[in-house]
């Protein structure tokens, strides 16, 4: 007897028990039987269009349960198994085999025989199934359908329509998974094709040639009037799920054969999700990245940033040799020279500080942590190369560091409700957005506008001015509180106390806090208080891949690895982690370090992979870097070369092994993809330590893990922050509060080398409400100048459903570099006014 939610059936004589509602094709896979298919995809809803998976089915019917065969073969991809069902696939049923052969013959009649020049050749389900199920020689001798080729669906995604078998995986993905239905089936019969709106294809082009050209330009424009791209951030996935060579990547097309590629499973470095990816390289050159498969994480989807953003690792300014300043110039030198120069600067420093950046692996972060404390003897360490606050540091040290695996992505998606504060799921979370959307999780957002991402999540906006999140968190609407607190309510349920005791408590909702809350005083304190008050769970999702590992390694002033207060380490523990006893003055945080460097108090900076333009006030940071001696460990040279005194090259992720820790707290170890002589940050720091005569334990990789594992749970944890909310800032006439975040695809350095992706990124627009616009004399389609004392940004105006008195700008999109141009952060006060007629476009 099987459990009530299990079904036992027979496939090709193999008895198999699977969960109820399992499709025949999935059940067959469980039994080790592969049924050919095209339209079927386990993560998409069945459509049964290609008919390649036809099988013979019989199921018990009538009062006696006599086996009754379906008169026609049935699509295995769309029919669920039922108790006692008998399925015969092509392996045991001549009828099913014949049906599949017939369909394969038809699928191939209009498919070109261009496998030798097709990207998919060698990894093509159609090719495989043509061999397993098709005829050796086609009987079709008439004229095949042809199409002009290729059609650009986006600048990066090309469609060769004659290769398409119309399985609709791409259109179903676009509609079902990210909710960006930018392509659809068009026309019918053998002329049916996939396409986006294209006046020429659809035959709606005007007759007048000039108008036709204009229409074509408009059709080729990837942006809607409000600046959003039609294809969205996840469109690249359709290339990967296409079962034929119809969809190809412009970036990879005609560049390699799959059988010449070496594939390595690894982890994406562009956000804190730690998505599983596959890197394909040939002769030491990475040619493409694909989504890996991790059902509990990114499933089989990745962002276009993770897919296409890998050229930054081999950008033209990639360093291979140390650079040392000689006057105004940076000169390439040998490694011993470079190490000696860096050691001399750091060794001579009276008061050094460390800004390692937020993109490190755990091993490299650990090396920085040890190097700062044990070699440089400083506690002025901060991984946050972005707007940050002391409250945030305390929150992270108290709540996140050393907490191990917290709320998982699975748990987040299944939570009764999720409240987003200072976090925009699609732009700042990538696959977090996809999983929330797939699960249909009830989402609430504290934000000044319902972003397109939030709308596609079916989320509810709790309109909150930037900077007012703390107040909002302390007085949430009752309905939201009820949902977040569901666990407590279930436990308090009246009556059946035994049942409540026996069944595990239903988990409460989840409050997600992002790094943007750092600019709102009291927000993290309020989030902690709200979680405690409601019994809700709390999770911090940063943007960068290395922030969680940096935190675990103790790259904050006063924080030891494992979430231990530095001051609370026993001598033995200090010895085991740092290799020596510590007696350090209290350290500074990122703004303290920059201020101290500008004022001359910090005389040397050790800088990891960060960009000046990401710091809260890049102009002030630049002068601080100018004033101090700077040793930088960088993959690429251009960013910091004007300010650095020594730059030591380090390996990008694909040229080293390491471990990211994603926001869940899950270790995401990855292997070295390419053979390389490049050194990891840890190896360089070890060499530096040696050159400085310090005897400390840095590396190998295992040592970092051992040192962390050896630490006991903190006896005396860092106390929770208790910062009172500051009164909301109220903008005066001609002013507005700034709402800003990084769009997923923007001017990020990680996207250098894939300009085509930038073309389908959302364009920078200033979004504000009709009332705010009217008060400032602005109108839709006009241009607004957003200004602070530090500069101005001029952008087209889009009237949107934004809270009155707020203007929203992307943080680092073309024409809108908020930190560089405004030196402002989320929640800051800016002036808004109609832009002068002579366009002064921000750099």
């Amino acid at each position: 007897m099987s459990a009530p939610d299990q079904v036992t059936c027979s496939i090709d004589g193999v008895e198999i028990t699977v969960p109820k509602n399992t499709l025949i094709i999935r059940a067959a896979e469980e039994a080790g039987i592969f049924i050919p298919r095209f339209c079927d995809h386990p993560l998409l809803k069945p459509v049964a269009a290609c008919r390649q998976c036809l099988v013979d089915v019989a199921s018990p019917a009538g009062p006696e349960g006599k086996l009754r065969a379906f008169p026609k073969p049935q699509p295995a991809c769309a029919m669920t198994v039922t108790p006692g069902m008998v399925v015969n696939t092509q392996l045991t049923s001549p009828a099913a085999a014949k049906a599949q052969e017939q369909v394969a013959e038809l699928i191939l009649i209009n498919h070109p025989l261009d496998c030798p020049v097709c990207d998919k050749g060698g990894e093509c389900p159609l090719q495989n199934q043509a061999l397993s199920t098709g005829r050796a020689v086609s009987r079709f001798t008439d004229k095949k359908n042809t199409f002009a080729k290729p059609l650009a669906l986006t600048p990066l995604i090309l469609l060769d329509r004659e290769r398409c078998v119309l399985c609709q995986r791409c259109t179903r993905f676009a509609a079902q998974i990210p909710g960006d239905p930018f392509i659809a089936l068009q026309k019918r019969g053998a002329n049916q094709q996939i396409g986006r709106f294209d006046a020429a294809v659809l035959g709606v082009a005007p007759v007048d040639p000039a108008a036709a050209e204009a229409a074509c330009d408009a059709a080729c424009d990837d942006l809607a009037a409000d600046g959003r791209p039609f294809a969205g951030y996840f469109a690249g996935n359709i290339i990967q799920i296409c079962p034929v060579g119809a969809l190809t990547s412009a970036d990879y097309r005609f560049r390699a054969r799959p059988f010449d590629l070496v594939s390595t499973e690894t982890v994406a470095e562009h956000d804190s999700s730690g998505a599983a990816i596959r890197v394909d390289y040939r002769r030491g050159q990475v040619l493409r990245r694909l989504a890996g498969s991790d059902p509990s994480l990114n499933q089989e989807w990745i962002t276009d940033k993770d897919r296409f953003g890998f050229r930054w690792q081999v950008a033209p300014d990639r360093l291979t040799r140390p650079l040392v300043r000689r006057g105004d110039e940076m000169v390439a030198v040998s490694w011993p020279e470079g190490i000696a120069a860096a050691a001399a600067i750091l060794g001579a420093a009276a008061n050094p500080a460390v800004l390692p950046g937020g993109r490190l692996t755990l091993e490299d972060a650990h090396a920085y942590s040890v190097f700062a404390r044990a070699v440089l003897a400083t506690d002025s360490v901060d991984f946050r190369a972005r707007p940050a606050s002391r409250e945030e540091a305390q929150f992270l040290a108290h709540f996140v560091a050393g907490s191990g695996a917290g709320v998982s992505l699975d748990e987040l998606a299944q939570a009764p409700a999720v409240l987003l504060a200072g976090f925009e799921a699609e732009d700042e979370g990538g696959v977090v957005f996809l999983r929330l959307r797939e699960a249909g999780t009830k989402v609430y957002a504290l934000a000044p506008l319902a972003s397109r991402g939030l709308r596609r999540l079916g989320g509810t906006l709790l309109a909150t001015a930037p900077g007012a999140e703390a107040q909002a968190l302390s007085q949430l609407p009752d309905a939201v509180e009820g949902l977040l607190a569901e666990a407590a309510a279930a436990l308090r349920g009246p009556g059946d106390e035994n049942a409540a005791a026996e069944s595990p408590a239903r988990p409460g909702g989840v409050i997600v806090v992002g790094e943007r809350l750092a600019t709102t005083p009291g927000a993290y304190s309020a989030a902690l208080a709200a979680a405690r008050r409601l019994g809700a769970r709390l999770v911090w999702i940063p943007r960068r891949a290395g922030e969680r590992a940096a935190l675990e390694a103790g790259l904050l002033a006063g924080l030891a690895p494992g979430g231990r207060p530095l001051a609370g380490l026993s001598p033995a523990e200090a010895e085991s982690v740092f290799g020596r006893q510590l007696d350090l003055a209290p350290g500074l945080d990122v703004s303290g370090i920059i201020a101290a460097a500008a004022g001359g108090d910090v005389d040397a900076l050790l800088v990891g992979g960060l960009e000046m333009v990401d710091l809260p006030n890049p102009t002030r940071a630049a002068s601080a870097f100018k004033a101090a001696k700077v040793v930088a460990l960088q993959v690429r040279g251009d960013g910091l070369s004007p300010w650095a005194d020594v730059i030591l090259p380090v390996a990008p992720p694909q040229e080293k092994a390491g471990t990211f820790i994603n926001w869940e707290g899950r270790l995401r170890p990855f292997p070295q993809v390419l053979a390389s002589t490049a050194l990891s940050d840890a190896r360089v720091l070890q060499a530096l330590a040696k050159a400085m005569g310090a005897d400390v334990r840095i590396g190998p990789l295992a040592a970092a893990h051992e040192a962390l594992a050896a630490l006991a749970a903190p006896a005396e944890p860092v106390p929770a922050p208790a910062v009172a909310p500051s009164p909301p800032r109220s903008p005066g006439p001609g002013e507005a509060l700034l709402s800003t975040w990084h769009y997923l695809v923007d001017d990020a350095a990680g996207l250098d080398g894939v300009e085509a992706l930038a073309a389908s990124a959302p364009a920078a627009r200033a979004r504000l409400s009709a009332a705010t616009a009217a008060a400032a004399g602005l109108e839709a389609g006009g241009r607004v100048e957003v200004a602070t004392a530090d500069g101005a940004i001029t952008l087209p105006v889009v009237i949107d459903d934004v809270l009155d008195g707020v203007v929203h700008l992307p943080t680092k999109s073309p024409g809108s570099w908020v930190r560089v141009n405004l030196a402002a952060a989320d929640g800051g006060v800016v002036r808004i006014s109609p832009a002068p007629d002579h366009e002064e476009v921000a750099p």
Partner: protein, 433 residues
């Protein structure tokens, strides 16, 4: 006694038959008055008891279809009338709606009352603009007379009726594609289950019925199930419209009891074109296997036609005399199916494309002996493999033509040309240069 039993067509010849006044003069809307006094369940049972079978082609019992609706849950339920008549040869619903639109409206109101629907739709084939106008006028007349809208006929039953014009796609006659199209989507058939009775229009319980089925309802409700059952055969009760077209003396719609034979109908229509003999005929539209004079005495009811190897379909009896080239006729139908294939599933999309290519070549005298094998095999790759019944039916005429007239295909291939003079089959004067 004549075999004709004009009921549905009884008003067609009357003066301004399409007006509400004319309809009422001949007893129109009396069945509605009767139905509104009955319990909805009794109305449903009357239709169920009458044995009325769907007139759209498949012949599923109408009342049984209604009873598949789940019990009311307080949410909306819909009636959708399938008026997307577009099968080649089928021409019964359009004249019915043109001549007697109120019989459809009355049927729709009674049906809605029986199934608890408060918003019904008529999905009309878009090309027939004249019928669209006539339906819209009839609906507004009915509304002005209090037969639609709030308190239908003074009862406490409310009903909205929307006439929707499609865009002329054959696939939208398939009920689930019709529903997608009605919802504003691309018309392609849906995966079943769920069936429309459970999740149809806007994912709500929905009944989809053919025009003629719904127009039969007032007669059944007005005169009773037993009266209806007294006509037709045991399993194919009542009367139905037979549409004769092609090489007959008087083409048109002939209403008769189910079970009438083609021989009887041909007599009524004055026989085949003078001086010619019947060569083959289609019993139920171009998607049904063809018959020859041998089947003239097959009773035209659902089961007898099926037993004889075809389908009653929509009773679109297309007659072809000996001047007609079967290859040419089948080729035209295949052009239609290849053009109208919605493209969703491989067998119909690619199979009709392939067959069309081959038939075009054979007709043009470029056939090859191996083509016969293709024509023999490919229909088997479509039938029973396609997503929807429309795809399954697409090669029927070809398969049956090979059964009866294989020699003509061979002749085309061997001669390298068509042995027939197309002009000889014209029913109009051939234009000669």
């Amino acid at each position: 006694m004549s075999a004709l039993t004009p009921l549905l067509t009884s008003r067609w010849g009357q003066e301004r038959a399409w007006t509400l006044d004319a309809y009422r003069r001949t007893g129109g809307y009396q069945a509605l008055a009767k139905a509104l006094k009955m319990d909805p369940a009794d109305v449903l049972n009357t239709v169920k008891d009458s044995g009325l079978r769907g007139r759209g082609g498949a012949g599923f019992p109408t009342g049984v279809k209604w009873s598949f609706l789940p019990p009311p849950d307080g949410g909306p339920r819909y009636l959708v009338v399938n008026a997307d008549e577009s099968e080649p040869g089928t021409c019964k619903d359009i004249p019915l709606m043109m001549a007697d639109p109120h019989s459809l409206i009355e049927g729709a109101i009674i049906t809605s009352y029986a199934i608890g629907c408060h918003h019904a739709f008529i999905y009309l084939r878009g090309e027939v603009v004249h019928v669209y106008r006539r339906l819209l006028n009839a609906v507004s007349q009915a509304r002005a007379a209090g037969l639609l809208g709030k308190s239908v006929g003074g009862s406490d039953f409310d009903l909205e009726l929307t006439v929707h014009a499609g865009a002329g796609a054959y696939i939208c006659g398939e009920e689930t594609a019709l529903l997608d199209s009605l919802e504003g989507r691309r018309g392609q058939p849906r995966l079943k289950p769920p069936f429309p009775a459970v999740a149809g229009l806007y994912a709500r319980p929905t009944v989809v019925n053919n025009v003629e089925s719904i127009a039969s309802v007032p007669w059944i409700v007005g005169r009773g199930a037993d009266w209806w059952k007294s006509m037709g055969t045991e399993k194919s009760t009542g009367v139905a419209i037979y549409s004769l077209s092609g090489h007959v003396q008087r083409p048109g719609q002939y209403e008769a009891q189910l079970g009438v034979t083609m021989r009887q109908l041909l007599d009524l229509a004055g026989g085949v074109r003078a001086g010619h003999q019947l060569k083959f005929w289609m019993p139920g539209g171009s998607s049904t296997p063809m018959f020859t004079p041998e089947q003239l005495d097959v009773p035209l009811d659902y089961d007898s036609v099926a037993a004889a190897g075809s389908m009653l379909g929509t009773r679109a009896l297309q007659c072809f005399d000996e001047t007609v080239c079967v290859v040419r006729a089948v080729s035209r139908w295949m052009e239609f199916y290849a053009h109208e294939s919605c493209g969703k599933c491989t067998p119909c999309r690619e199979g009709t494309f392939w067959l069309r290519s081959v038939l075009r070549r054979i007709e043009a005298g470029q056939g090859r002996p191996e083509d016969l094998q293709i024509l023999q095999d490919i229909p088997g790759s479509i039938m029973g493999r396609a997503f929807c019944p429309l795809g399954d039916g697409a090669p029927s005429s070809l398969v049956s033509s090979l059964k009866f007239f294989r020699d003509e295909y061979v002749q085309h291939i061997e001669l390298g040309r068509c042995p027939f003079d197309p002009a000889a089959s014209y029913l109009f004067e051939a234009v000669t240069a």
